[in-house]
């Protein structure tokens, strides 16, 4: 077997070594353990799991360590690993009404069954840099409620649904199995199940910005945070040989249900409509951005005029994936000598021919060109 050994290969191998040394940093400082990343960088881990489309805290922590904290790189590592994993089956849809809540807030009702639960949130932390954290600190001891939370609490949208004030969220006729975006390419028009899958693994920053744009007039959207809940839900599968559901574990989810005004149409009375967001782990910003974008993308289905980027399914969905986006933006680092040479030749040709035209030979030029030159 003949393998050409060239400078490029040595350079690549050397770059691996350099990268490893930079990642490790000062060898005098203790190396990060996965347990530390998993336990103390849990929000970073959640984002990597969510956009990496793989619920595994240890692998996400490993990816973060390997990527030296670069989240998009860590997401890419997790995705590339995930795609090689065999698939044993599909879970039963999770039921977030059965969530063991650790946080639950509603901006639409002052009080409601199950109550408002602030939980572990940065919302009211006043964002003062806490210099005491610069040193090792004693383990905090969190307070616990006098009465435990109810095992389950109804979703706000279900309470509104009882009154018929909000659109019903019903399975499509025949309850079709949703397509699996990790196995099949995205096609347009994409149904809502497909869109939500796409958004769920989409880049948080992108969804945040698009969601934000809908609040600033780029889409006629008037959202209320109907409910945000975070906690643990059981994950169930139905093994072929058993024929009934068994619980295989639990996962942490953040769910956001946005409630939006809807003027109604000739078929439908005025009512509230929904935007939905769901994310692995504690990922509130992601879930909220997703819910805003989901609602904006429903414009066509609700007969609303499409006027803004966030309402355009092809624009939004084709650009959510940061593994794709990062790769394609960064591929500009690859050599483009050949294309550049072609453009250089063209530019030289154009400049030399425009110089020739300058000496008065306009007779053979197309009419439009002559017109343009007069204007110039």
């Amino acid at each position: 077997m003949y393998v050409a050994v060239k400078g490029g290969e040595t350079a690549i191998l050397n770059s691996y070594e350099l990268l490893a040394a930079e990642r490790r940093g000062d060898p005098e400082v203790a190396e990060l353990t996965l347990a530390q990343i998993r336990g103390q960088m849990r929000l970073a881990v959640a984002r990597v799991m969510c956009e990496g489309s793989l619920y595994d805290k240890d692998l996400a922590a490993l990816a973060l360590k390997q990527a030296a904290g670069d989240q998009v790189e860590a997401i890419f590592l997790l995705r590339a690993y995930r795609t090689t994993l065999p698939r044993f089956g599909y879970s039963v849809p999770v039921d977030t009404a059965r969530m063991a809540l650790r946080r639950r807030i509603s901006a639409t009702f002052k009080d409601l069954p199950g109550g408002q639960v602030l939980g572990p949130t940065y919302d009211y932390t006043q964002r003062l840099l806490d210099f005491s954290l610069a040193e090792a600190s004693a383990a905090p001891t969190p307070p616990s409620a006098e009465t435990p939370l109810p095992a389950t609490s109804p979703r706000v949208t279900d309470l509104l649904g009882e009154e018929g004030m909000i659109e019903a969220e019903l399975p499509l006729a025949g309850d079709p199995v949703p397509m699996d975006l990790s196995r099949e390419p995205l096609r347009f028009p994409a149904d809502r199940a497909t869109r939500l899958q796409n958004l769920a693994r989409g880049d948080e920053g992108y969804l945040l910005a698009l969601g934000y744009s809908t609040q600033r007039g780029y889409a006629n959207s008037h959202p209320f945070a109907g409910e945000i809940r975070m906690g643990e839900v059981p994950l169930e599968i139905i093994p072929e040989e058993l024929g009934f559901a068994i619980t295989i574990g639990q996962i942490t989810l953040t769910e956001c249900q946005m409630i939006n005004q809807f003027a109604g149409s000739s078929d439908v009375p005025p009512q509230f409509t929904r935007g939905y967001g769901l994310a692995f782990g504690e990922s509130e910003r992601k879930a909220m951005g997703m819910a805003l974008v989901d609602r904006a993308l429903r414009a066509a289905e609700l007969g609303e005029e499409i006027t803004s980027p966030a309402q355009e399914p092809e624009f939004v969905l084709a650009h959510t994936d940061n593994v794709e986006a990062s790769g394609f933006v960064q591929h500009l680092k690859l050599p483009h000598y050949v294309d550049f040479q072609s453009e250089l030749e063209l530019l030289r040709k154009m400049r030399s021919s425009s110089a020739k035209v300058g000496v008065g030979d306009t007779a053979n030029q197309p009419e439009l060109r002559a017109t343009e030159r007069e204007e110039a």
Partner: protein, 291 residues
Amino acid sequence: MNGLPGYNFAYLDEQTKRMIRRALLKAVAIPGYQVPFGSREMPLPYGWGTGGIQVTASILGRKDVLKVIDQGSDDTTNAVNIRRFFNRTADVATTDRTEEATIIQTRHRIPEKPLNENQILVFQVPLPEPMTRLEPHEAVTRKLHALADYGLMHVKLYEDIARYGHIATTYDYPVLVNGRYLMAPSPIPKFDNPKLHMSPALQLFGAGREKRVYAIPPWTRVESLDFEDHPFSIQRWQQVCALCDADDSFLDEVVLDGGGRMFVCSDSDYCRTRQAAGHTGTENTPMEVSA
């Protein structure tokens, strides 16, 4: 030998290979049509050849001899990296000689040496839709392809002529395949377009990020779009290759330390072969093209 422990031959699992293989069979049956496929995340970034890599991984066998080029050269870092990937995952024989290869994966060039019927050329494609800059919505471009309505592209080319006196597209120059589908040949210079036409080799195109594959079977008509009074023409140089004196190859311009310019073949194998056969240019000392 199967390559990398813990991974299947050529990295992809068999189910993924089957899915891509089925898409490729439809692609050759419908020349120039973009077949959607369930592109997978690869351990190399999107935009760096994941489509070409998935196609190569799906067709590659133990008896194949693989050549990988980027910008015509076997030595650019990306080409080295992709060749290394298949070396690790498939333990397949590699070469930099065009005539020895059974599969050539390429980015942005078609080799200068004529290909034969036993070779497959795999193109890495960034943007498979030729009309994407004119109409970004896939739902619309699919409809235009269905109707073979390529007026949009003709208008664009005509506007070029009206504006500049000639068509101002120099690479990824659109072609009509087998008289039916408008196709992006990937960002090869239009210099290479004539090589697409009636090629004895099978040509496969993989766009990983955009999740599409397409094909030009051997001996298939491939016409570069043009107008009767503005026929398609390819780039020509005043210069010849400074290393091998070739006057018929695509030349890269190199800026020298002193500020001067030098033109050399972009196809490194072609240049080497000519030099080995005794052709010499004005700059005989072997030059180092850093990756």
